[in-house]
Amino acid sequence: MEEEKQLTEVESLRIITEMIQKTKKEFYESGIAAILWGSVVGFCGIYGYLAFTFNWPFKREVWYLTFFAIIPQIIIVIKERKPRKVKQYIDGVGAAWIAFAVTMVGMAVYNTAIPFTVAQNFKAEHLELLLHNTQANTTENIAPFIPNFSSVYLLIYAFPTLVTGIGRRFKPMLYGAVICYLCFIVSCFTANTIDLLLQSIAAISCWLIPGIILSNRYRKAKATHN
């Protein structure tokens, strides 16, 4: 690019537009993280549903996979950040995903701590939770639990997905978020095992499918860029 050439107004506008477009190309999302989380949560939901239906092992333990998925997520973040010669501002969409990650950690803590705390409180007040079967006329002592917790997860999944869909004008995530909200409504009226299936549908539509679309776009953009 030559320096002291006299610019016309139209040329100035062309330079500004061209340079902003060039910077934009640097920030194409690879979609790998969305594919990772869509696959992991999608698999856990389907497996959980099948495990409860057919009495397979690791009904609840399968969800520990989501903790292990944090390791490849960290690797993805480091790998994607390393070759970039330019740093981006964290915008509203990025902030929504950071808030989502923090909320998910908070939910895991809540999910673990609340039943324990409630049990302790009951114990202190000399109370216990009983489950009475009206048909068999049996009563058993049960540990406190959070009912229909999947519905809350569905609401949280939908939130950053909707923000991304609107903020980035990315229709696949917008539709994904709508499907997720629909799954939430349905989950309020269904059994826990069905909720697992709904969680899987939500993860696939919110992240896996949009992630695959993003990945294809990224590869195409990179091919034209090089």
Binding site: M1, E2, E3, E4, K5, L7, E9, V10, E11, S12, L13, I15, I16, E18, M19, I20, K22, T23, K24, K85, V86, K87, Q88, Y89
Partner: protein
């Protein structure tokens, strides 16, 4: 009455540098050079001019034993760019 276009920004390479930096937090010198298709010498001179008027900040560090220069637009630079675009719009609307 037309506002005069900022002579610092009304230059091909300096305007390109500012247009690149306006949308990012910071960018490496090599990135700017690649995107503007300029030579290192010419770019250095123009970056220095932008730095002298306070439109950008330049920091020099070492990364893996190699010098690393990064550029970042300042508040003054953002305001100047904003004014430049507004003035440009005036000229373009008048030409219609």
């Amino acid at each position: 009455m037309f506002k005069e276009l900022d002579p610092i920004l009304h230059s091909q390479l300096r305007l390109a540098v500012m247009s690149l930096l306006i949308g990012v937090k910071e960018a490496e010198f090599t990135f700017i050079r690649e995107k503007t298709n300029s030579t290192a010498g010419n770019l250095s001179v123009q970056v220095q001019k932008l730095k002298d008027v306070g439109y950008i900040e330049v920091s020099k560090q070492f990364k893996d034993n190699y010098p690393l220069t990064t550029c970042k637009i300042t508040k003054k630079g953002i305001d100047a760019f904003d004014d430049y675009v507004k003035a440009l719009q005036q000229y373009l609307q008048a030409g219609k």
